[in-house]
């Protein structure tokens, strides 16, 4: 147990008896707050909530997920009663006992609930975990018996809740360390103990003396020119240190998107611009001693806007004469396909002749599909803390998936040599692609350089919705033809994506969406016309699946419809048409040619679906309609164009090993796998590996934790480094084998590792060639036609991840992907009003799947071993997301006879469509 501060003796009369023991009365001064048994006499500010007070007192295990009482990440106990500390007035805690995650357990031990969360690995990024543990510790028998209701106030974006349910029920799923190989075992995450005790340090869980706070004034208009900003009233606010406007910002254009090659994205963004192109865009930043002063400064800024016409949808934006979002920019210099037509990117290409293909077809089907904007909703918001280190080096601690690329972007933006910039992360509280983006660091860097002081900029949850990025909304018109024997003759896509006000990831998502989604099918005639369109709305960006989910929703729906029209089983129809081992992966357009089928488990995935579909025995209420549906997906194991990872492994003087790797850990679990790889390669155990990661000071380069690369790229570099170190140790010691703690020599003697080191070796993997992973999903559902309620009766997911490095974690990634996909299929929708403003700015308006919303999914893993990936592994992180929505749509079609073409399938929409079917007479 910890009181979050330096140990201090209990006040007289308070005794240690009540410390950490909930429900026991304990007397202390009415003017102090007892936190984990220690009295804190610093009074809270009048309008302060308990969450920030506790964090300021050192209890950084208390997290901000929403700050509105909805997500539960800030759960603490006040006088033994669980509350959401973000909506609990701090002044009210005076005279009361507060217990946080840091004080839940007895000294030097774990609370039983903490142990259970370790045993079931009931976390991924871990940002919600302290709140879940504090909640679970307060559940009585009745609430334990009704977890869907009891956990209404706890949101987890990563796990899909199965692992959390196991943890609460005391199911142990992690493997015991038995001295056998680590790879292939369900090893727990190295940071597990820190996560469950609240000790894991996320981005803002550090105390930076002299820290200034940055707040942003954001545009109320979807499109406006800033005619002038009067900063004087803001500068007059006591505590305000600086006001930053477009006049202070570099003139250079860049993209917030981070890619190995910055030229992949349009250069259309400034740190602060004199034109705002979406409601929520930065207008100015105020840097002050306190958040209060910074906010007051923002309110005092006087901005003269010259309002410009907005353009809110891609169809409108593509019409001739539409207001131009980046009409002032140059196609070549700014890398914008057609600024005069609001096109960030476009793709027009054909393989064979779809006209011929449709002519050969016995059945042709065409339909238009729509997917809305979705928010990543990582529980940790965007944000960064920046400072100048002792050598005057610009240093950023950021919630990012791409520290190395962000360093290069900052160096470029501010004309600094890269070695004068350092970017690092703490533990990152979820990403899902949203943090493959530079959304805060550029502004924090400007503030640090302006003030010379450390500066923090932390997004609010509302800013996550209005001013971060979203999944791209897609409109996909698809036409496909097939012969009576089930063979596809033509696939034609017309794709329009809404990239919002800026083109970050716009062209790349469009390209990727139109690749593996159709490359997985052998069809001689394929045609794609695709447009990434600027609108004056919140920018879209990278999101799990990177366009594939949106296009697969159309492709898999259309193929299901073709199979129906041919009277063919949808699994058989897929089997007739999918690529086979050794065949090329083709899609119209210039796509990187390093993508190969390094292993093939799609046949196993489809067989698992067939077996699930043959099952019976699921029950639906009377009057409900029941149906089955399946869909499948393929994904490249890594992005095209190169993805680099450097790793270094060092034998430490104490005989342990240190692994240094650049990639970030945000719940993806790659760190666990890295430790497993090092342990097996060096004949030791994961607990003897010290991991340092995600810091530009550690290794040469790392493209970042995106594109499903944590295992197949970073893991590959780790494997190469560990192998090189093994060779080096054996050579230097003249040894023949390694074990934990010793080098064994040919003469039968051994040398302790403590006498060998220090010795280091490095590894690098450049991310090419790339293999492909496969996924398929099947649902049996029931639908109440009179209410629109859709109930999942059974959910089965099959996946080909190559050699499975950590079965428990792989299962967790799949479950989390399925749950996030269920969110976009059933509950999540960002609403933009007629003025272009996002109105769904919190978790009450934007419904993330909660425990009650996610059914258990049975998972079947194919037995394959990849020829490219490290130790035979493939990616399994983004891809489980992709087949879920179309599988659900196909099940809805089967149950109701209606083809649903627009996500999400909320009850009101399902009901409305079924009313249409019934006709006005019904």
């Amino acid at each position: 147990m910890s009181d979050c501060t330096e140990p201090r003796p209990p006040a007289p009369g308070n005794g240690p008896d009540g410390e950490g023991q909930e429900g026991m009365p304990r007397r202390h001064s009415p003017m102090t707050v007892s936190i984990n048994g220690a009295d804190h006499d610093r009074p809270p500010r009048p309008g302060q909530c308990l969450r920030t007070y506790l964090r300021e007192e050192g209890c950084t295990g208390v997290k901000k997920g929403c700050d509105t009482g909805d997500c539960g990440a800030c759960t603490v106990h006040v006088d033994g009663v669980p509350v959401h500390s973000c909506v609990y007035p701090a002044f009210r805690a005076r005279g009361r006992r507060v217990t946080t995650i840091e004080g839940l357990a007895p000294p030097d031990g774990l609370h039983p609930v903490q142990q259970r969360f370790l045993d079931a690995q009931g976390f991924q990024c871990g940002f919600c975990t302290a709140g879940l543990i504090m909640t679970t510790a307060a559940l009585d028998e009745a609430r334990l018996a009704d977890l869907p209701r009891a956990l209404k106030g706890n949101l987890c974006r990563c796990t899909g809740y199965r692992a959390i349910g196991d943890a609460i029920r005391g199911v142990r799923t992690v493997d015991d360390a038995d001295g056998g190989p680590a790879v292939g075992a369900s090893v727990g995450a190295p940071a597990g103990a820190q996560v469950v005790t609240g000790a894991a340090q996320y981005t803002f869980d550090v105390d930076v003396p002299g820290l200034l706070h940055l707040k942003v004034l954001r545009s109320p208009y979807a499109h406006a020119r800033i005619a002038g900003i009067d900063t004087a009233p803001a500068l007059a606010v006591p505590g305000v240190r600086a006001v930053l406007t477009h006049e202070d910002a570099p003139g250079r254009h860049f993209s917030t998107a981070r890619h190995e090659h910055p030229t992949e994205d349009p250069a259309d963004t400034r740190v602060l611009d004199d034109v705002v192109r979406f409601a929520g865009q930065r207008v100015a930043a105020v840097v002050a001693d306190t958040e209060a002063a910074a906010e007051e400064g923002c309110r005092r800024l006087r901005v003269a806007y010259e309002v410009l016409p907005p353009v809110l949808g891609p169809e409108a934006a593509m019409r001739p004469g539409a207001p131009l979002v980046h009409g002032d920019k140059d196609p070549v210099a700014n890398r914008i396909a057609r600024p005069d037509r609001n096109l960030a990117g476009e793709l027009h290409a054909e393989l064979g002749s779809v006209a011929d293909g449709f002519a050969e077809a016995d059945v042709v089907y065409e339909e238009t599909f729509r997917t809305p904007r979705v928010q990543h909703a990582s529980l940790e918001t965007h944000g960064a803390i920046g400072w100048l280190d002792n050598e005057g080096r610009l240093t950023l601690r950021s919630s990012t998936q791409t520290p190395f690329l962000t360093r290069l972007a900052l160096a470029d933006l501010y004309d600094l040599p890269p070695e004068r910039v350092r970017v690092l992360t703490g533990r990152v509280g979820g990403g899902f692609g949203g943090k493959q983006e530079m959304l805060t660091e550029d502004l924090v860097a400007l503030a640090v350089r302006t003030t010379g002081r450390p500066v923090k900029h932390e997004y609010t949850r509302a800013e996550q919705f209005t001013s971060a990025t979203t999944r791209h909304a897609f409109t996909v018109r698809m036409k496909a033809g097939a012969r009576r024997d089930g063979s596809l003759t033509a696939l034609q896509l017309h794709v329009v994506t809404d990239t919002g006000a800026y083109g970050n990831h716009g062209p790349a998502v469009m390209y990727h969406g139109c690749h593996e989604s159709i490359a997985v099918y052998r069809c001689p005639n394929k045609k794609v016309d695709a447009y990434a369109v600027y609108t004056t709305t919140v920018p879209a960006g990278a999101f799990r699946g990177y366009g594939l989910g949106q296009v697969s929703f159309a492709v898999e729906s259309v193929l299901d419809e073709l199979a129906r029209r041919l009277g063919m089983d949808p699994v058989l129809f897929r089997e007739r048409n999918v690529v086979r081992p050794g065949e090329p992966l083709t899609a119209p357009g210039e796509h990187a040619d390093d993508l190969l089928i390094g292993s093939y488990g799609l046949d196993q995935c489809l067989a698992a679906i067939r077996s699930a579909a043959a099952s019976t025995g699921t029950q639906a209420p009377p009057g409900w309609l029941v149906g089955d549906g399946m869909a499948m997906a393929m994904i490249a194991a890594g992005p095209p164009g190169g993805h680099v990872a450097d790793a270094a492994v060092t034998l430490l003087p104490d005989g342990r090993y240190e692994l240094a790797v650049g990639t970030a850990e945000f719940g993806n679990g790659s760190t666990t796998v890295h430790a497993q790889i090092v342990a097996d390669t060096l004949g030791t155990t994961p607990d003897r590996i010290v991991i340092r990661q995600s810091d530009t000071d550690l290794v040469g380069h790392d493209t970042g934790a995106f594109g499903s690369t944590g295992v197949v790229v970073a893991g590959h570099a780790v494997l190469l480094a560990a192998r090189a170190l093994r060779t080096r140790i054996l050579e230097s010691a003249g040894g023949s084998t390694l074990s934990a703690g010793a080098v064994h020599l040919p003469d039968g003697t051994s040398l302790p590792l403590t006498r060998v080191g220090p010795v280091q070796a490095e590894g690098r993997w450049a991310g090419t060639p790339r293999s492909v992973a496969f996924n398929a999903h099947w649902f049996r559902i029931a639908v109440d036609p009179d209410t629109g309620e859709l109930r999942i009766l059974r959910s089965v997911h099959s996946a080909d991840a190559g050699r499975v490095m950590n079965p428990l974690q792989c299962r967790g990634q799949i479950e989390g992907g399925v749950a996030q996909a269920l969110g976009s299929a059933l509950t999540e929708r960002m609403v933009v009003d007629e003025a272009g403003r996002v109105t769904t700015t919190g978790f009450r308006q934007y419904h993330l799947p909660a425990y009650a919303d996610v059914p258990e999914t049975e998972i079947v893993l194919a037995d394959t071993e990849d020829s490219i990936g490290p130790l035979g592994a493939k990616s399994m992180s983004e891809s489980p997301y992709n087949p879920v929505a179309p599988a659900l749509a196909n099940a809805l079609r089967d149950a109701t006879g209606v083809r649903f073409t627009e996500l999400p399938f909320t009850r009101d929409r399902v009901w409305a469509r079924l009313q249409d079917r019934a006709g006005p007479s019904a």
Binding site: P82, R149, E291, E296, T840, Q845, A850
Partner: protein, 267 residues
């Protein structure tokens, strides 16, 4: 979240202390859940020490500062059958979890005046009467007229909600309840409460509509009469139109649930 503009807390506070820039504070779960840049002072009612629930001869008085948890746990008025018939279900209708129940108050839910406010449904269905204290004295308003629209109430600046009294006659009888939401334990999109007392059926419609609508029948109407009365009572523009459900769907469920309640109470 932190309310940075707040410079002072008056605790406990009472009627007559309000001035512009003040906000009445009960539990705080609503007040602290949104930026309140206009609020400079909090008037803390939770510290006033009001008895959460008082049984009187003429009814049950629920203090505005009674927490949802206290209401959910209350079991000392077994004769008020309608109250007990609806109270637990209405507490479960909160989108918020049991942890919020420990802090959020009945009065706070009424004053937030959201369509989905389940304490509005409960107290409206049971004939609740609000006691309002203001600088000039006190007045009483039925819950059905206390909430005037989505987020609006009958309170004037400076007035506070002191309590809601459920008359004994209205808090007894048989009850039935139906709730619809886009999600299993999601925010209420439709919340109907029916009460059958010797006088007849009282049907209260909330969540589907921007403010509560109450239909009172002598005896029990037939199905057609009920549907006609509903169509008559709720104007077309009163169906809530927000992300929690389309107006047409909410209207449809309202009519469906009304009939289910009618049947359940006459079975």
């Amino acid at each position: 979240m932190d309310l940075h503009t707040v410079a002072e807390v008056v605790s406990p506070a009472g009627a007559g202390q309000w001035r512009p820039g003040d906000a009445w504070l009960a539990g705080g779960t609503a007040l602290f859940a949104e930026p309140r840049p206009g609020v400079t002072r909090l008037l803390d009612l939770a510290a006033a020490g009001w008895t959460p629930i008082t049984v009187r001869d003429d009814g049950l008085e629920i203090a505005a500062t009674c927490t949802v948890a206290e209401l959910a746990a209350y079991a000392r008025a077994p004769h008020l059958t309608a109250f007990h018939g609806l109270a637990t279900a209405c507490c479960h209708a909160f989108l918020a979890s049991f942890k919020i129940w420990n802090v959020a108050t009945v009065g706070g839910n009424l004053c937030a005046a959201l369509p989905a406010g389940p304490m509005i449904a409960l107290t409206a269905a049971l004939g609740g009467e609000c006691l309002i204290l203001g600088p000039g004295g006190e007045r009483r308003v039925p819950v059905t007229r206390f909430v005037t629209g989505d987020g609006t109430t009958a309170l004037s600046p400076g007035e506070l909600l002191r309590s809601v009294t459920l008359p004994t006659a209205a808090a007894t009888g048989r009850t039935a309840y139906r709730r619809g939401s886009l999600f299993t334990h999601g925010r209420s999109a439709v919340l109907l409460a029916g009460r059958l007392a010797p006088g007849g059926l009282v049907l209260t419609v909330t969540a589907a509509t921007v403010r509560p609508y109450q239909l009172t029948f002598d005896g029990v109407p037939g199905a057609a009469a009920l549907q006609a009365a509903l169509a008559d009572a709720v104007p077309d523009d009163a169906w809530a139109d927000d992300v929690h459900g389309s107006p047409a769907w909410r209207r449809h469920l309202t009519f469906r649930y009304a009939e289910e309640i009618r049947r359940e109470l006459t079975a």
